[in-house]
């Protein structure tokens, strides 16, 4: 498939249309929220916070594809506002995000969260744009499906786009917590632009990706999750039915790509056993779509040597095995891989911590090494360093081979107001 290059104004127009949909959803939800709170006259707490971040990413190998840049200075603004009343049982939370980057596609804004929450007794309801995290594994996030990944923001997939939802939680002491989701709108994943690294040879414009469902992004999706714990066991089972968050890429013999968002059923399992300083973890999904059925699994352990020096130094070791039945079509590139890592926490006044790790492909030579370190400076600054190194990437790797020259180093400084 050829890359479709749209002229700039058109791109802006399309993104603004998508955002208008979001704004519409927010308005609908908020008229509901305001109606629901009209008779509350209790003590109200407001909080406003602002984080400003300067970031610099440097890709130290020559670009593999034409147009890709090497240096990426960037800025981010993250405002947060929350208001609660009724002793915190009712809240409205807002969390915004704006990124300015050299890569036009990475320059983006989002409402990460804007929702009304009400808790009463053993239930809680949330209405609006919200983020929800599922899962226990560190090196890959299989089960986590409620929110679309903000794929241009970070490489580890932990940054998410705000998802419109009605979430209803029902908490019981004896049979666990039930979490029901109504998800009325799907958000597409953004891919790096021509300038950007960590992309395929052809630039994917998110608006070129269509849906299997005729209702497209307005397909009404549902999810449910049950979570409970029994002594040292924490268990969760979940099911999602709707537009997949991960696009499905089909490649034909001529090298053409057909990419779209399939309608999927996905069942997820999470287990963690917390025994002494050991955390044993298992996470697995079965995803079923017309074009694809597969199982993926991740299992591992985390062990922490606590307070080694009597001064608070904790050293954790992590090992995880990652399997994906899609084999080379797995977007994460983690089809039969092993992750090793170590988490070092100094527990000092500046909260210094370091996470180092490596993912080794058991079928090929490919390896990805990573380092993430952070430290608070003074009381309201924070510095972060990140490095990802793609090493001996196998040319046969359908996904990862595109990133083989994209090892990078990232430095960021954030100020909190």
């Amino acid at each position: 498939m050829e890359t479709i290059t749209l002229e700039l104004p058109l791109i802006f127009k399309i993104t603004s249309v998508k955002h208008n949909n979001l704004v519409l959803i927010v308005l609908i939800f908020f008229s509901f929220a305001l109606y629901a709170q009209s008779d509350e006259k209790k003590k109200v707490n407001h909080e406003f916070e602002l984080e400003l971040e300067a970031e610099y990413r440097y890709f130290f190998n020559d670009a593999q594809f034409p147009g890709q840049e090497t240096h990426f200075p960037a800025l981010a603004i993250k405002p947060e506002y929350s208001i609660d009343w009724n002793k915190g049982k009712e809240q409205i939370n807002f969390s915004g995000f704006f990124r300015l980057d050299r890569d036009k596609e990475r320059t983006h804004w989002d409402i990460r969260e804007l929702y009304y929450q009400k808790a009463k007794g053993s239930w809680e309801i949330n209405v609006g744009l919200k983020k929800v995290y599922w899962g226990v594994i560190e090196s890959n996030h299989l089960v986590d499906i409620i929110n679309q990944t903000d794929a241009v923001e970070t490489f580890d997939g932990e940054e998410k786009l705000g998802q419109p939802m009605v979430q209803f939680n029902w908490i019981t002491n004896n049979i666990g917590t039930f979490d029901f989701f109504y998800l009325p709108y799907h958000r597409k994943r953004t891919f790096p632009g021509v300038d950007g690294r960590l992309r395929f040879g052809s630039v994917i414009d998110k608006d070129d990706l269509n849906y299997e469902s005729g209702a497209e992004e307005w397909r009404q999706d549902f999810a449910v999750r049950w979570k409970h714990y029994f002594g040292i066991f924490d268990v969760a089972l979940s099911h999602f039915y709707g537009n997949g968050r991960e696009p499905l890429f089909l490649f034909d013999n001529l090298g053409n790509i057909n990419a779209f968002y399939p309608t999927i059923n996905q069942t997820g399992l999470e287990v963690q056993v917390t025994h002494d300083a050991f955390l044993w973890k298992l996470e697995s999904i079965y995803r079923d779509a017309k074009a694809q059925h597969f199982l993926a699994l991740a299992a591992g352990l985390e062990y922490t040597f606590g307070n080694i020096d009597g001064n608070g130094l904790d050293i954790g070791v992590l090992g995880e095995y990652l399997y994906d039945e899609r084999d080379e079509l797995a977007l994460s590139g983690l089809q039969n891989d092993v992750f090793f890592g170590s988490r070092i926490a100094f527990n000092d006044t500046q909260d210094t911590s370091i996470l180092i790790g490596g993912i080794l492909d058991l079928d090929a030579s490919s390896k990805i090494f990573s380092l993430e370190a952070s430290r608070r400076i003074g009381n309201s600054w924070k510095a972060e360093v990140e490095a990802r190194v793609f090493s001996s990437i196998d040319e046969e790797e359908l996904i990862l081979s595109n990133f083989k020259e994209d090892s990078f180093f990232r430095l960021s400084i954030a100020k909190f107001f």
């Binding site: 916070e49 984080e51 929350s82 002793k87 915190g88 809240q91 939370n93 929450q117 808790a119 007794g121 053993s122 809680e124 983020k131 929800v132 995290y133 899962g135 226990v136 932990e158 998410k160 939680n169 908490i171 002491n173 917590t177 979570k227 714990y229 924490d234 963690q272 917390t274 002494d276 300083a277 050991f278 955390l279 922490t304 606590g306 307070n307 009597g310 001064n311 608070g312 904790d314 527990n347 000092d348 006044t349 500046q350 909260d351 608070r376 009381n379 309201s380 924070k382 954030a414 909190f416 107001f417």
Partner: protein
């Protein structure tokens, strides 16, 4: 009320009785202290933590703690950080058990993740302070063995030896004030080599509901490193009427938002 009168009577009779071993008397005192604080049901308190290194440089954290009293098993507690701002909203939920390891979950607000964590590392410092996790967890009688040492006026001094081998201490020397509802005035901590490690002094005590003594200031001095940590508590709220619903993983996320 009736049960506390009985318990005081039992204690008085027992302490008068000759032939009571120091171990028995120590345990009696710990139980009397537990009884004296029974019935607070739930509390909410805000606190400021000041960390001071040996050069006198300080850094601060503020947090709020909710506690739910349970009698059959240990208490439940929920701690939320309000500052420094980069960790704002980070919260922990702890279910203390009288016997065995506590259950603990950590909430990370940036990615909205709830993670079950090991409570094994109890001797480690709490957020870089001179307080170890075990110093701040719910003090259940079953977690120590006891030996009465001496009586100085209204002060009863008891040695407490942790039952759990993972504790960072060989013993704690605890001073109870028998005239003030067995509130604790001072704790001395001896490390695994049996050397004096830290002293915790409680001051600015205030009595709530005519019964419950709570210190407004905790001062922990580490004699080996020269560092200290001071906790300044605001007024306790004993009228929040918290229930189990306020100590679920869902409530943990709610508190951290």
């Amino acid at each position: 009320m009736k049960s506390s009168i009985i318990s005081i009577l039992v204690f008085l009779v027992a302490s008068i009785a000759f032939g009571q071993s120091p171990e028995e008397r120590g345990l009696q005192i710990a139980k009397a202290a537990e009884k004296a604080d029974l019935g607070f049901k739930s509390s909410i308190v805000e606190l400021k933590m000041t960390l001071k290194n040996k050069n006198g440089q300080t850094s601060e954290r503020s947090l709020s703690t909710r506690t739910l009293e349970l009698t059959e098993d240990g208490d439940k507690s929920l701690i939320v950080f309000n500052s420094p701002k980069d960790v704002k909203g980070t919260s922990t939920l702890t279910f203390t058990h009288k016997v065995g390891s506590d259950d603990q979950w950590l909430y990370l607000p940036s990615i909205k993740r709830v993670k079950r964590i090991s409570s094994n590392n109890k001797s480690g410092p709490f957020v870089g302070s001179e307080f170890a996790y075990e110093d701040l967890s719910s003090q259940e009688v079953e977690k120590y063995s006891y030996k009465f040492l001496e009586e100085k006026g209204s002060i009863l001094v008891v040695e407490q030896d942790p039952v759990d081998p993972k504790s960072g201490y060989t013993r704690r020397i605890v001073s109870y004030n028998k005239d003030k509802g067995y509130r604790i005035e001072k704790v001395e901590f001896y490390d695994r080599k049996n050397a004096l490690l830290k002293t915790l002094s409680y001051s600015d005590y205030k009595q709530y509901k005519n019964k419950f003594w709570r210190a407004n200031v905790f001062k922990m001095v580490n004699h080996q490193s020269g560092k200290e940590t001071i906790l300044n508590f605001s007024d306790y709220n004993f009228d929040a009427d918290l229930s189990e619903d306020d100590f679920s993983q869902v409530a943990l996320q709610r508190a951290g938002n």
